[in-house]
Structure formats: structure tokens, C-alpha cells
């Protein structure tokens, strides 16, 4: 008996794993200079990297960066009239307030996102913008902070939670009305196909917001037991996926013009958004279907055995699990959709890429092509990276209790 206890005692003492730290010199020798061929490769590539970095630095220091701040308004909001610019700010404030509120009431992911938004706006306010703009920028942080405070106070009050969800859902149409205007409430702004980067953002938000639910419905429809529904959904998905987006956009811009009389035809921007939504929904549907197929049969059986009908089983049991499995694919589709909004430029919509081209055509800014494209790249990268960051956080949060 005593011996036994001793053995248990010895086993319980944890041994540390052997140290794996290697001195730098040895690491270099092992990984970069372990044969004469690898040694040559290492030296050549080091030289190339140094040349490239120096070239880049020399260009970056001598570049005419003033093209960006000078044209910043044009790039971001295009021809949006200056006297109505407050409406853009109001939209930004609305979203930052909601972000702040949610971060106050939930914490976690929301808190990170709103902290980043607030601190970026403060950082931007330090840059040498006109004083008016700086004020607006600082306002973002203030509004987010106020939202945070209110959200914190509302913690645990059930009615506030419902209100919060309703506010998020309502923020979608409210923003559109704010930006576009509406007969009788706010003056409608003319020429909404020339709003620069804002069009990419609106296109992406509308496209994501609509193509996700449509895609889920299409995926469920393709697996329906009713043949008519199944065939319609399958045909839709396969036809859309067989045609490049750019040709769909051309069809929407030119063919509809020929087919529909002007008074019933939605305007160009709306047609473009409908097209990108319809396009993205087909891909979304296939992503979601992949998730649906990964759910074991036992889940369906257990759901129906406890008495849930088909609709409830799908909403409560199957979809939450299926969607969680395909978050990476869905976010990939969101990112692709965002990038695809640059194709709007081909049907005469002045989104970021197209408006950049018009700046480059200006004699004053001749030769600033690299500066402008670097700006475009950074603008898109920031937003796409944020999306993939948020998706990773969501995956982690939802990963609790994963089998």
C-alpha cells in the first residue's frame, strides 16, 4: 500500500520538456548555410532584398504624397457636396455610437473593435488635416466613449438588449437615408454614382447584408425535399456561378437600359448593387451548403426525436453549427465581394479605383500613379484585414465547447 502511494507521488511530479533554444549562430548554420548551394541562395536573396528595400525607401521618400491629402475628399466621398458632408459624419457617428454601446454592454470582441476605431480616429486627428476635419475625427472617439458609458449602464437590463439589436438593424436603412436623402425628410443628393470610396463601402455593406440571408435560403432550398424548390435554387446557383461578375454588371448596366423603360428602371448604382448581391449570394449558398453537409445525421435525428419540427430543427440546431463551420469561407466571400465593388468602375460608376484614374488624368498630378495605388492598396487592406481579424475572433469566441 505504501509503495503504491509512492509511485503515484513520483508520477504526479511533472517533468519539464527539454529546452529547445538554439544559439543564433547555430540556427543560421542549420537553416541558411547547411550546404554550399543554400549558402549561395541565402547570399543572393539577401542582396536582392536589400536592393529592393533601398529602392522602395528612395521612392517613398521622394514620392509626391501630397496628392493624397489634397485629393482626400475626392478619393473618399467623391463629388458628395461639401455642405451635406455632415451627413457622412453623422453616419460614421451613428455606427461608432452603436459600436461603443455594444462594447459597453458586452465587452469582448466589440470592445476591441471600438477601441481600435476610437484610437485610429484620435491618431488621424493628430495628422495635419484642416481643423474642422480634426474636430469631426475627435468626435468619433467622443461619441464612441459616450456610447460605451451608456452601454455599460444598460448592462443586464433586458429591454436595453432588445433595443440594441433593433438599433443595429435600423442603422442600416437610417444610414442609407442619411447618405442618400429621402423625399420629404432630407434633400436627395444628385449624382450618387460618383461618391468614391464611399461607394465601395456602401456596395460592400449592402451586398454583405443582403447576400448572406439570400445565400442561406438558397443553400437550404438546394437541399429541400421539394423538387421544384431544389431545381430552381440549383439552376440559379449554377447559372450565376458560370458567368463572370463583370459580364453580369455589363448586362445590368446596358441590357436593362435597353429592355426596361426609364420610369421603371432602377438607377445604375442600385442595379450594380443588386447584381453584386445576386452574384455573391450564389457563392454564399455553396459555402453554407458545405457546412450543412458536414452536420452528422445524428443531429437531425436527435432534433426530430425531441419533437422539433423541420423549421425549428434547422434554425436552432443545424444552421448554428453549419454556419460556425464555414465562417472562414463566408468571410472570404465577404472580402471578395468588397474587392469586387471596384468592378463598378467598369460600368461608369466613380468608385475609388475609377476616381483615382480621373485624378491621374489631371495634368497637375501626372505621374502619381504609384502613390495613388499604394493608397488604394492600404485602404482596402485595412478593411479586409479587419474583417478577417473579426472573423478569427468570432471563431475563437464560438469555439467554446467545440467537440
Amino acid at each position: 500500500m505504501r509503495d503504491n502511494r509512492q509511485i503515484v507521488h513520483i508520477i504526479k511530479e511533472q517533468l519539464r520538456p527539454p529546452s529547445e533554444r538554439i544559439p543564433v549562430i547555430r540556427w543560421l548554420k542549420q537553416n541558411l548555410f547547411n550546404s554550399w548551394f543554400n549558402a549561395i541562395l541565402t547570399i543572393v536573396s539577401t542582396v536582392l532584398i536589400v536592393i529592393a528595400v533601398f529602392g522602395l525607401l528612395r521612392w517613398a521618400l521622394g514620392a509626391r504624397w501630397e496628392v493624397i491629402p489634397t485629393n482626400l475628399k475626392l478619393l473618399l466621398v467623391g463629388t458628395y457636396p461639401a455642405e451635406h458632408l455632415w451627413r457622412v459624419w453623422a453616419t460614421v457617428y451613428l455606427v461608432s455610437f452603436l459600436l461603443g454601446f455594444s462594447s459597453g454592454s458586452h465587452g469582448g470582441l466589440m470592445r476591441r473593435v471600438s477601441t481600435v476605431v476610437a484610437s485610429v480616429s484620435v491618431l488621424l486627428a493628430i495628422l495635419p488635416f484642416p481643423w474642422g476635419t480634426r474636430g469631426w475625427l475627435l468626435g468619433i472617439a467622443v461619441v464612441a466613449a459616450v456610447g460605451f458609458g451608456l452601454g455599460h449602464l444598460s448592462k443586464g437590463i433586458r429591454r436595453c438588449k432588445r433595443l440594441e439589436i433593433a438599433a443595429w438593424l435600423l442603422s442600416f436603412p437610417i444610414s442609407l437615408v442619411l447618405l442618400n436623402g429621402m423625399e420629404g425628410i432630407l434633400p436627395v443628393i444628385k449624382g450618387r454614382t460618383t461618391w468614391g470610396f464611399m461607394l465601395n463601402l456602401i456596395g460592400a455593406v449592402v451586398g454583405i447584408g443582403l447576400s448572406f440571408p439570400i445565400g442561406v435560403l438558397l443553400a437550404l432550398g438546394r437541399r429541400s425535399e421539394l423538387p421544384a424548390i431544389r431545381w430552381v435554387c440549383t439552376a440559379y446557383i449554377e447559372i450565376i456561378r458560370g458567368v463572370p461578375l463583370i459580364s453580369l454588371l455589363f448586362m445590368a448596366s446596358i441590357m436593362l437600359q435597353l429592355l426596361l423603360p426609364a420610369n421603371v428602371r432602377p438607377d445604375l448604382l442600385i442595379r450594380a448593387m443588386m447584381t453584386i448581391t445576386a452574384f455573391s449570394a450564389a457563392y454564399m449558398a455553396e459555402n453554407v451548403r458545405g457546412g450543412l453537409q458536414a452536420i452528422p445525421r445524428g443531429q437531425y435525428e436527435a432534433a426530430s426525436a425531441v419533437g422539433l419540427n423541420k423549421a425549428l430543427a434547422t434554425i436552432l440546431i443545424i444552421l448554428p453549427q453549419a454556419l460556425r463551420l464555414v465562417i472562414p469561407a463566408i468571410v472570404g466571400q465577404f472580402i471578395a465581394l468588397f474587392m469586387d465593388t471596384t468592378l463598378f468602375g467598369f460600368i461608369a460608376i466613380l468608385e475609388l479605383l475609377n476616381i483615382t484614374r480621373s485624378i491621374m488624368g489631371n495634368i497637375e498630378w501626372r505621374g502619381t500613379i504609384f502613390e495613388l495605388y499604394v493608397f488604394i492598396g492600404i485602404a482596402f487592406w485595412i478593411l479586409c484585414y479587419s474583417m478577417s481579424y473579426v472573423s478569427r475572433r468570432i471563431e475563437k469566441t464560438l469555439g467554446v465547447g467545440e467537440r
Binding site: P296, A305, V306, Q321, R324
Partner: protein, 250 residues
Amino acid sequence: MSVTSDEGIIIYRDVHKWYGDFHVLRGITFTMQKGEVIVICGPSGSGKSTCIRTINRLEEHQRGQIIVDGVELTNDLRNIETIRREVGIVFQQFNLFPHLSVLQNVALAPFWVLKMKKSKADEVAMQLLERVGIPEQAEKYPGQLSGGQQQRVAIARALAMSPKIMLFDEPTSALDPEMIKEVLDVMKNLARSGMTMIVVTHEMGFAREVADRIIFFDYGQLVEENTPEEFFHNPQHERTKLFLSQILDY
């Protein structure tokens, strides 16, 4: 389609089922009384799982008649839904909902199907978790529990609909030997409380102690039906004797 239920709570009359060309159930006939505990055993592939899964229509039968608590199982969706409310099932692979906490797993059906208030549903779920001996795991997720604990949650989940009949489809076959007992104990208590139960299992100790009747299946047929006493000490068929000699030697 109501039939008088005096004859029994479950009535099978010449039930047949095919998977494609494969004839899984070849004319099953038996009757079960309320409060009875029946253990079904037999070699794998003999159709015993398929048989109990036809009771709540997870599998369809193609010929014959199944009457559960006076309602005949047909393609009528309303009948199927009624019967599923009255029949709980526990699966070999647990089939808990991995994205919901233990409490939510159990409270789900009372809330959505029986339309209980959320607080009431949670209360019922908590009582059931106490009954199966794991109230302290309520906030965890299924993936954080041991196999035996998961299966007990599955039993609680099935009981949450207050079923009249409980089906157990090899409930201990996927468990580590150390955990089998905790699940069988819960089932034993359930049987003592008067629940009508059909249990497909290879646990002969459980069958001997708890069953009122043992049914032996082979090749989709009901080969022998007897009390445990008779079944173990005086089996009638050669096939039953062979089966018993093979599993009882160890």
C-alpha cells in the same frame, strides 16, 4: 386513426422493412404493456436497432402495422409529431447538441415544443439533471463532459418531454468500461419508477436484473421472447443458446 390501446402501449403486427433490396425486418410481431421493461438483444446486423427506431419513425416501415399508445404510425405528419412527443430516445452516440450548454440541451424541447416559459423550462431541466446526478455540469458544453456524463445528459434531454415510453439504442456501447455503470444505474432507477422502456443492449447483467421480458433478434426476425429467468436458464432455440454461450463465456 385511433385504435383502442387496451391491448398494449406498443403493438407490432407483422412489420417489414427493406433497405433497398435488403430485408432488415421480416415480420416482427409483439405487444408491450404499459410499465414494462423489454430488453432486445441479438447479434449485430440483426435489425434490433432498426426495429426500435421504427417506433418513433426515425426509420419507416413498409409493411405491417405499428400502433403506439393508440395512434397508428403512418405518413401522417401530425401522428408522427404526436408520437415523437410521447416517445423519448437515447442514442448510442449521444447526439447532444454541441453548440448548446448542458442545461440548454435539456431545456430546449420544453421551451420550443411544449411552449413552457423559459424560467419554467430551465427549472424542469435542472430537476432532470439532478435526477441523472449531474446538476453541477449544467453550464458546461457537451464536449467538456465524459462519455458517461454525456449519455446521462442525453437521458435527461429525452425525459424533458415527459415521454410515456423511453427507447435506448445501445446506450452503453460507445462508453469506456468505467462509465457504463453510472449510465446503467440511471436507467435502473428509471425502470423502478415505472417507466415503459425498450432497451437494445448487450449488457446481460442489466437485462437479468431489470427486464420483464427479453426479446432475441436474428436475421430481422424475432427468434425468442421470454422472461429473463427462462431466457438465461432455459433458452428454447439453438440460435439463442449459441448467442448466450458466446457472450456469457467471458
